[in-house]
Amino acid sequence: MRYLPLTPDDRQAMLAKIGVRHIDDLFKDVPNAVLNPEIDLPRHKAEMEVERHLSRMAAKNTAAGSVPFFVGAGAYKHHVPATVDHLIQRGEFLTAYTPYQPEIAQGTLQYIFEFQTQVAQLTGMDVANASMYDGSTACAEAVLMARRVTRRNKAILAGSLHAHYRAVVETTTQYTEDVIVAQTPNPADPEAELKAVIDAIDDETSCVVVQNPGVFGHVLDLRPVAEAAHAKKALLIVVVTEVMSLGLIQSPGEMGADIVVGEGQSIGNGLNFGGPYVGLFATNQKYVRQMPGRLCGETVDADGKRGFVLTLSTREQHIRREKATSNICTNAGLCALAFTIHMTLLGEKGLRGVARVNHKNAIALKAAMGSVAGGEVLTNAFFNEIAVKLPKAAGAVVDQLAERGVLAGVPASRLYPGAGLDDVLIMAATETVTADDIDVLKGALEEVL
């Protein structure tokens, strides 16, 4: 077997050194009745055979890059430069462990420090952690952190928070003392949605959770929510599922956020059918010690040379056990590296430039959808995503368009079943969309409507 270097002779020599005759002498603690069960699975395969088997499976899927593609709602198709994927596959990054031995892990630690700084700058916050599993789990952790900070337990979730994020918050807090108030989505009237959030804030409120741009694409000024929350000593948690938007839209920090969580997939990471992604978590300096997750900090070595280490670990499970701020252990190291490399390639200039191309394509998409008979665009202020009301059920339309080789978007009913949004379609246009793609979409849509 190609991954196993020991030869039969090696094994015999090693057993002799250990002083046993048979490998199963080393498994003597395993009850005999259950040792060496029959396992009904195929035997080993050569590399070529594995590749053939998996390639056949992959070929049954429609790759985003192979068709006109407008699917978003929390995961976005962006162009990731080839440099990113090449660099993250260097063995020194790919096959390293969590940097618990900092003398031989400065590569990882320095990029985490760069990552933390980039995330803080992008979100407009003081500090960011070394990443979380993804945006949705970061969102749940933010709600828990708000309880620790405010010592209150009521969290208000805005209606246009991504349905999966809402579900993750609800699930994660179901056995804690948190009370979750989830409001109903209202894609046709985002201002009314914000007002409902503001009206719900009371003296028990630990935090309000608002997504910007919302799941239906609306971009909103969150300053009034921040003011209302702060007036009641509650925290504003802003969720960003499309981090590319921060190249065009004012940052949550500028709007008064106390905690910003986000999905960083758009920068550096492919769609990957939902994961692995990279959760962003940023906050203000005064809340650092209540943050979940790993943090990298600057220090010096014995010779006075600048270096980096994981720090403030007294918050974490391996030290605090049941009193830890979170049970989180792993972060999204390699995805954070991909994010950092892509951000470095973009720089401020590239990020702004690419963000504007996204916006331009979304404006073109909006114009096309507005001109389809029976179509009504619900989103007026947006980044790269819009919600469109169709004269038919969006789910059926998406399926029919898929048959015509167009992936048109996410039916709102897939995220919010039973919410009366069956005719709403969520559509994204990133920099990867061409004018041709929009023409093909429009033509196909006119056929099926």
Binding site: M14, V30, K45, T62, T95, T330, L334, L337, G347
Partner: protein, 510 residues
Amino acid sequence: MAMNSQGRPTAATGGGDATKFESFSGHVGLRLAEPLIFELGTSETTGVDFEDTSDLELSCGGLERTSEIGCPGLAEPDTARHYTRLSRRNYGIDMGVFPLGSCTMKHNPRLNEKMARLPGFGDIHPLAPKSTVQGAYQLMDELSHWLMTLTGMPAVALSPKAGAHGELCGVMAIRAALEARGDAREVILCPESAHGTNPATAAFCGYKVKSIPAKDNGRVDIGALKAALDNTVAAVMITNPNTCGLFENEVREIADEIHKAGAFFYCDGANFNAIVGKARPGDLGVDAMHINLHKTFSTPHGGGGPGSGPVVFSDALKDFVPVPYVVKTEGGYDIVEDQAGKSFGRLTAFQGQMGMYVRALSYMLSHGSDGLKQASEDAVLNANYVLASLKDVMSPSYDGPCMHEALFDDEFLKGTGVTTLDFAKAMIDEGYHPMTMYFPLVVHGAMLIEPTESESKTNMDQFIRSMRGLAEAAKAGQVERFSGAPYHAPWSRLDETQAARNPVLRFAAE
């Protein structure tokens, strides 16, 4: 002076003391100094090309970002160089033996990377129309089949994002099942040697944590367990093989006692890699167990993630699994995305770590049932070889045989002035990543060595020679070799106290 035929010198013309010559560049040969990107890049530099949009009329509600973002860029050549230079400061499995106990640093096959990057896996959207991602559902179904067969368990939840997330999944299912029977209970029992994530997870699910002691032989004290088990206990969380690298030989009796008390048996599957193909948790009475795909099934650790922690479940818990999950339909697959029935909810957006599923299945298909079993045996063989080869110069905490990792304490360093930390740092000078140190907490100055099956006998022998040399040097009073180590790493020992006392967590321009 020796010359070649072109008259070029072919040997050094003299000798000198390298420490006397500081370089003018800040570099030291192949050790290249590299500042932060914030000290290198500018806001006007970029490594990407994009369409000009200067005449664009914005439609973002007047909320355009006009303030400086403060993220400098680099052109592509400098980006490649920056991160290549950083990479060279890291130690990885690709460079040498990485015997980090409990973490399972086995070889990461590159076929897995290639497979995960097939456009049909890497470039598909989690909410794409179901008819366009049937192959992805098939892959999830096939991976599930392998995991259920290898563990002998009837159900699996793939979506947890890492081991600790898997623990959360398992304990939530347990709580949901208990609540369904009208009795959530109050307590979760964990052995003293448990991973820190276990008590943290239990607390997260609203349970009090009680510790159960170990016996002198490193196993759970079944008498103490029995005494602690009553109708307030929701579950017992046990790692098996345990964190001392030992198989809980009374595991079936333990399971019986747990079940007799009406509680559930959660197994931390972090060490499943020792027994894949040799024993099935389902046969041991386990009710829920997470599997770290990044340990047992070779997906890369990536400097701290991403992980992936699917959880297998017994019949008693299978109705409570979280969404989403794939189901077979007539002629294809469907995915259940909305909470219904007894499911306890959703742990993550989308489907979990698809990229890791592809890598893990690629690894399983490569090994097959025979290779997976052989891999477990080789991992256990290598660990016992270390134990047998070092037991006369170091101090094993328990008698053998061990499973996939060998545990030593610092008894052999007593009176030498050398600590476990010093010893670990001296291993860096030997060209090895240190073993896990100070974990588990149940032995003093713990050193947990897990060689994995990826090491050849030649590598093992060289490693053992080096460890013996260090142990003998410590006993011979060569304290200096240890106290200032590492001497040959790119950085000397870093000041963690200063980092924590005055946290600097981001770059700020002076």
